[in-house]
C-alpha cells in the first residue's frame, strides 16, 4: 500500500510538474537535515498545494489548468473583514510594516508578528532602508478608496496568490501571520491620505 502511494505520488509529480527529483525523496532529505527549534517545528517543512505548485525550479513546465484552478480556489477562500471596515490606524500600521520579527525560531512567540513590508517594498519616502524585491508602494493612496480598491488591496495582503499565483509575497491573512486588526492597520498605512506613505518627501 505504501509503495503504491509512493508510485502514485511520483506519477502525479511527473505529469504535473516534471520534477527531476521525486518530491517524497526531497521531503525525506529535509526530514533528516533539519531539527525543530522553539516555535519552528518540523511540520513547517510539509507543503500545501500552493507551496508544492510554486516550488518548480525556474524554467520548469507547469500545468496551466491546474494553476488556474488553484488560483481560483485561493480567491474563493479570501476572508474579508467581518465588519466590512477595511481601514484601521495608519500609525499602528507603520509599526507592522517596519517590524521584521515573528515566527522565527529566535523570536518571542508572545510578541505580535510583524509584516516586514519594508524588507521588500518602498513605502514612506523618508524611509531609505527599503528592499526592492517587491514593487514600490510609495504614494499608494493615490489609487483611492473605492470598494474595488479596498477589496483588491485586502486580497493582496490576505493571499497574494489569489491574483498572482506563485508571487514571492507571504500570505499574511491566509497563513495567520497578521491578525485582522493588523491587516486593517496596514491597509490604513497604505491608503490613508494622512499616512507618511502618501506624503511628499521632506
Amino acid at each position: 500500500m505504501k509503495a503504491l502511494t509512493a508510485g502514485i505520488t511520483i506519477i502525479l509529480n511527473a505529469s504535473l510538474m516534471a520534477w527531476t527529483v521525486a518530491a517524497d525523496e526531497i521531503e525525506a532529505v529535509l526530514h533528516n537535515s533539519f531539527v525543530a527549534k522553539n516555535q519552528a517545528t518540523m511540520e513547517r517543512l510539509e507543503r500545501d498545494a500552493v507551496q508544492t505548485a510554486c516550488s518548480a525550479p525556474r524554467g520548469m513546465p507547469l500545468n496551466n489548468d491546474m494553476l488556474a484552478s488553484l488560483r481560483a480556489e485561493r480567491l474563493d477562500a479570501v476572508v474579508l473583514p467581518a465588519d466590512g471596515k477595511y481601514l484601521g490606524d495608519w500609525q499602528r500600521g507603520a509599526e507592522v510594516a517596519g517590524n521584521g520579527r515573528g515566527l522565527q525560531s529566535s523570536d518571542d512567540p508572545t510578541q505580535p508578528n510583524g509584516g516586514n513590508c519594508y524588507a521588500c517594498h518602498q513605502l514612506a519616502p523618508d524611509e531609505v532602508a527599503y528592499g526592492t524585491l517587491g514593487p514600490s508602494l510609495m504614494g499608494y493612496g493615490a489609487r483611492g478608496q473605492s470598494e474595488a480598491m479596498l477589496q483588491y488591496t485586502w486580497t493582496k495582503l490576505w493571499d497574494t496568490h489569489a491574483y498572482n499565483l506563485c508571487s514571492h509575497m507571504p500570505r499574511f491573512g491566509a497563513q495567520g501571520i497578521l491578525t485582522e486588526q493588523q491587516l486593517k492597520d496596514v491597509m490604513a498605512y497604505l491608503l490613508d491620505p494622512a499616512s507618511p506613505v502618501n506624503q511628499a518627501a521632506e
Partner: protein, 266 residues
Amino acid sequence: MKRHHLGLTLFAAWLCSVPLAADDGVFNQYRDLMGDDNPAVFVIDEGEELWFMPQGPESATLEACDLGLGPGVTAGAYVRFPRYFADADAVMDLESRLVHCMTTIQGRDLEAVTAKPYSLRGDFGTEMEALVTWLAAESEGATIAPEQTHAAERAMYSLGEEIFYYRAGPHDFSCATCHEQSGMRIRLQALPDLTSHTGAAEAWGSWPAYRISQGLVRTMGWRLRDCFRQQRWPELQMGSEASIALQTYMAVNAAGGTMTAPGLKR
C-alpha cells in the same frame, strides 16, 4: 587567544547610527579602506595551530586527513568541495569532512565534535570555524572547481537545485525567494543571485567571512542555517544532506570564479 577589536566595535556602532545611503556604498568604502586587513587573520592562525595540534584518544594531529588531494594536502583543497569521498561513500562539504577526520583519525566522539559547530554571539569562535577559515585561506586566489565527476556529486547538485526552490513554512519562503533575481536587496542588504554564475561566485567565493557586526568568522554552513532561520524553517544541521546539496548547487554555479575567502562582511 583574546580577540577584541575596539576599532571594529566602534565602527559597527557607527554603521548602525549613520543614516545609510540606499546602497552598500558606506560599507564598500570601509572595506576598501581596510585593504588586505581582515581580523580573520587571527582566526586563520588559530585554525593552522588546531590542524597541527594532537587531539583525541589517538592524540593525533589532522595531518593524515585527506581533503581530496591526498593526506595532509591543504593548499587548493577547499575550492574542490563539496566532493565525493570513497572512504565514507558520501559527498561531503569541508565541515563534514573535518568531522570525519576528527572521528576516524583523532578518535574523537561524533556527538562531541558536532555539538556546537558554530559560535553564538558574544562567544569566541569554535574549532570548526577556525579550521574552515584557515583551509579557505589555503585556497585563496584559487579557481573554484568543485568535483562533478562522480554520479553522487551530480545527484547532489540536482537535489540542491530542488531544495533551493522548495517553498515551505508560514511565509512560503524558499532560497529562491531572495536569491533568484539580480540587483535586488532586502532592506539595504544586497542579495546575490545564486542561480547566476556571477552571484554564486561572489557569494561562494567570499565565505567563510568575518562578520564585523558579530565580531566572528562565519562559515557557509552557518550562513545557510541563518538563512533558514529567517525563512521560518526548523534548524539546518551542519553536514546534513540538505546543507551539502545546497552548497554543491552554489559551488557548481560558482565554478570558474575565484576564491577570495575569508571575506569581510557587515
